[in-house]
C-alpha cells in the first residue's frame, strides 16, 4: 500500500498587531528615562532638562540615541549630527562617563543580533572618539534584540529599536 499525504505547516494568517508606543522601557539603565518635569520651569533647576549640564538635557536636548538601517551599523547623516552634539556636550561636561548600548530589532537570531548591536555601539563610540572624546570615558555593550523600546512587529517599531544609546554615568548631577 502506498500512502500519499500532504503536510502543510504553519500557514496561519498573518495578524498584524497595532503599534503601541511604550513610553519607557525597563532594561538598559538610562534608556528612555526622560525627566518628569522637563519643560515649564523658567529657572535653572539642577538635574532638570533646563540645566545644560544635566543628564535630562543630554537625553532630550542633545539626543542620546542614533538609529540604524536594517542590518546596518554605519551611521546615517542624522546620526552623525546627533553624535556631533553628543561629542560637544561630553567635551564640555568632562565629569561624565558613558556606556553606549547597541541594540537590534527582533528580525534576527539572538547571537547575531548581539554581535550586530555591538557593531552599532562601536560605530557610535568610534565617531565620538574621532571628535575628540577620550575613549577611556566610554564603554560599549550590546543587548542584541533583548531590550526593545517599541514592541510592535512592524518597521515603524523596528526602526526605533535599531539604535545605539549613550547612557551617562557620573557627573555632578548625574
Amino acid at each position: 500500500m502506498k500512502l500519499t499525504t500532504k503536510v502543510i505547516l504553519m500557514m496561519g494568517a498573518l495578524t498584524m498587531a497595532a503599534c503601541t508606543n511604550a513610553g519607557k522601557l525597563g532594561g538598559g539603565a538610562g534608556d528612555g528615562a526622560f525627566g518628569p518635569n522637563a519643560a515649564g520651569n523658567s529657572g535653572l533647576i539642577a538635574g532638570s532638562a533646563s540645566d545644560p549640564a544635566s543628564t535630562a538635557y543630554f537625553q532630550q536636548a542633545v539626543g542620546d540615541r542614533v538609529t540604524f538601517e536594517v542590518d546596518q551599523s554605519s551611521l546615517t547623516a542624522v546620526g552623525r549630527a546627533t553624535l556631533d552634539g553628543q561629542a560637544t556636550w561630553l567635551l564640555t561636561n568632562a565629569d561624565y562617563t558613558a556606556i553606549i548600548e547597541g541594540h537590534a530589532d527582533e528580525q534576527g537570531t539572538r547571537e547575531y543580533n548581539i554581535a550586530l548591536g555591538n557593531r552599532r555601539a562601536d560605530a557610535a563610540r568610534s565617531y565620538l572618539v574621532s571628535k575628540g572624546v577620550p575613549s577611556s570615558r566610554m564603554q560599549i555593550v550590546s543587548y542584541g534584540k533583548e531590550r526593545p523600546i517599541e514592541i510592535c512587529s512592524e518597521e515603524a517599531c523596528y526602526a526605533k529599536n535599531r539604535r545605539a544609546v549613550t547612557v551617562l554615568a557620573g557627573g555632578l548631577t548625574g
Binding site: L3, T5, Q107, G108, I114, R119, Y143
Partner: protein
C-alpha cells in the same frame, strides 16, 4: 518474530522523503513512506501490593505519553481491551490483543515499599505472538518514578525502532515572563516532556542561551550580571555558578562545550569585531580561532570534536561555515536563498540544524554536513534556536509570536518535519538545550 514491528517502524522512519516547494508558503509533501502510527496497548502496570496501585497508573500514563508523543505510535484506549492483565507473570492472550489490532503490548508491574520503587516491564510483539527482548527491572526511589517510566519507554522505543531512545533526558532553557519591553528571563531545567521544572537563576540579570555539558551536570550560559554579557558555568546539582570568561573591554557570548567537556567555544567582541575563541576550562587559557573583520558567532562542535560549524556574515549576510576545531580556513556549506544562523551539529554527526530567515519568515531546518539536502521543518514569524534530542531524531526550538503581545514557546518537531508540537512549560520558554540521555 519481532521482524514485523521492526520493519513497519523502519519503513515509517527511514523511507519518508520530501520535496520542498520553492515558492509560496512552506509545504512539505511526503511522497513515500507509511505514516500510520503503530498501535500499541499499555494496560495499567500491575500493583504488587496495596500501596502501589496509584503509582502503577501514573507510571503507565507517562510510558504511554512518551511513546504516543513521538508520533510513531498510537495508543489503543483501555476501553477497547478484551483481555486484562492482572498478573505480570501470566501468559498473554495474543488473540485478544490481535483482535483489537494492537501490534505491541507493554505490560508492567510496580512495587512500592516505603521510598523504594521497583518497576518491571515486558514488551510483546502481538502479530508474531512472542516477547520482544527480555523482561527488564528498574529499581530506585519513589521520587524518581518519572525517570523510571521514561526508562521503560526508552527501552520499548529502542527495541522497536532499533535506535536509542530520548525520553530519560532533560532540557535546560530560558523561562520568560512579561511583555517584550519588560521581559524577565531566568534559567530553568526540566524533564524533556516539560515535567519537573526547576529554576536555576533568578530573573534579576538577563540570561541567555544555556547549553548542557556533554554529561548533563553543568550548564554554560550568558549573563548580564556585571552589566556586560559574560559567560558563566553553573553546576546543575548545587546551582553554584562561576564566571568563566572575564576579558576586559569586550563582551563574550554564545558558549558551547566540546564533546569531551574540557573546552568551551564561544564568541568574543573586541571593538566592532566578533570572533570565535576557545577556552580550556581547567586552565582558563583562551585561543582565537577566527580573525576576519566580519561577525563570526554561534559555534558548535562536531560530535568527534574535530570540527566546528558556525555562522559568519563575511559573504555579506549570515551563512554557515565549517572549520577545523583548531581554526584555519573555513568552508561555506549554506548556499540557499536567505540567511542561515544558529547551526548545531547533530549527535550522529551527519546533519546540521539551523535557523533560516527568508522573505520575512523564520524556519528551523536541517542539511547534511556538506550543505546538501536542505530540508525546512517549520515556518513561522519567528522560529529560532534548534537543539537535538540525544538520538538525533527530534529537534526542540522556540517560537515567538508576532506583535505587541508576542510570547515565546518551546516546540519540538521530528527531523522528518512531522509531529510539530508545543512543549508545555509554566511560563514562556526560549533557547532550549537538550541533555544527553541520563545514566
Amino acid at each position: 518474530m519481532m521482524v514485523r514491528i521492526f520493519t513497519t517502524l523502519m519503513a515509517l522512519m527511514m523511507t519518508a522523503t520530501f520535496s520542498l516547494a520553492q515558492q509560496g508558503p512552506l509545504r512539505i509533501e511526503i511522497t513515500e513512506g507509511v505514516i500510520e502510527p503503530l498501535p500499541f496497548a499499555t494496560p495499567n502496570f500491575v500493583a504488587e501490593n496495596g500501596s502501589s496501585a496509584e503509582m502503577g497508573v501514573q507510571l503507565t500514563r507517562v510510558v504511554a505519553a512518551d511513546l504516543q508523543n513521538t508520533g510513531l505510535f498510537r495508543e489503543i484506549p483501555a476501553t477497547a481491551y478484551i483481555s486484562s492483565v492482572t498478573d505480570f507473570g501470566s501468559a498473554i492472550q495474543y488473540p485478544d490483543w490481535k483482535a483489537i489490532n494492537a501490534q505491541a503490548l507493554v505490560t508492567g508491574a510496580v512495587n512500592v515499599s516505603g521510598n523504594n520503587l521497583t518497576v518491571k516491564f515486558r514488551l510483546y510483539d502481538i502479530f508474531s505472538g512472542a516477547e520482544l527482548g527480555n523482561g527488564l527491572q528498574f529499581q530506585g526511589t519513589t521520587e524518581g518514578w518519572r525517570r523510571m517510566a521514561h526508562k521503560v519507554a526508552d527501552a520499548v522505543y529502542s527495541r522497536i525502532t532499533g535506535e536509542s531512545g530520548y525520553f530519560d533526558s532533560r532540557v535546560v532553557f530560558v523561562s520568560e515572563t512579561g511583555p517584550k519591553n519588560k521581559r524577565q528571563k531566568r534559567l530553568a531545567v526540566m524533564d524533556y516532556d516539560g515535567a519537573g521544572v526547576k529554576y536555576l537563576t533568578d530573573s534579576r540579570s538577563l540570561v541567555l542561551a544555556p547549553r548542557f555539558s556533554p554529561t548533563g551536570d553543568r550548564v554554560l550560559y550568558t549573563s548580564y550580571e556585571t552589566g556586560f554579557p559574560r559567560i558563566y558555568v553553573l553546576d546543575v546539582g548545587s546551582v553554584q555558578r562561576r564566571l568563566l570568561e572575564s576579558g576586559e573591554g569586550s563582551i563574550s557570548f554564545a558558549p558551547r562545550f566540546s564533546p569531551n567537556g574540557q573546552t568551551v567555544v564561544y564568541s568574543q567582541a573586541t571593538g566592532s569585531n566578533t570572533d570565535i575563541y576557545t577556552m580550556d576550562v581547567a586552565s582558563g587559557r583562551s585561543t582565537r580561532l577566527t580573525s576576519a573583520p566580519s561577525i563570526e558567532t554561534a559555534p558548535s562542535y562536531s560530535p568527534d570534536g574535530n570540527n566546528i560549524v558556525f555562522e559568519s556574515d563575511r559573504s555579506g549576510a549570515q551563512q554557515l561555515y565549517i572549520m577545523s576545531a583548531n581554526g584555519g580556513e573555513a568552508k561555506r556549506i549554506s548556499f540557499g536563498q536567505g540567511r542561515y544562523g544558529t547551526p548545531v551539529w547533530s549527535p550522529r554527526g551527519d546533519l546540521v540544524a539551523f535557523t533560516k530567515q527568508s522573505k520575512g519568515r523564520f524556519h528551523i531546518g536541517v542539511m547534511r554536513v556538506d550543505g546538501s539536502e536542505e530540508r525546512l521543518l517549520t515556518a513561522s514569524f519567528l522560529d529560532e534556536g534548534p537543539t537535538w534530542s540525544p538520538n538525533g531524531r527530534v529537534i526542540m526550538f522556540h517560537r515567538e509570536t508576532q506583535g505587541a503581545g508576542g510570547r515565546s514557546t518551546l516546540y519540538s518537531v521530528d527531523i522528518t518535519g512531522r509531529n510539530l508540537r508545543p512543549v508545555r512549560t509554566p511560563e514562556g520558554g526560549s533557547d532550549p538545550s537538550w541533555s544527553p540521555l541520563q545514566k
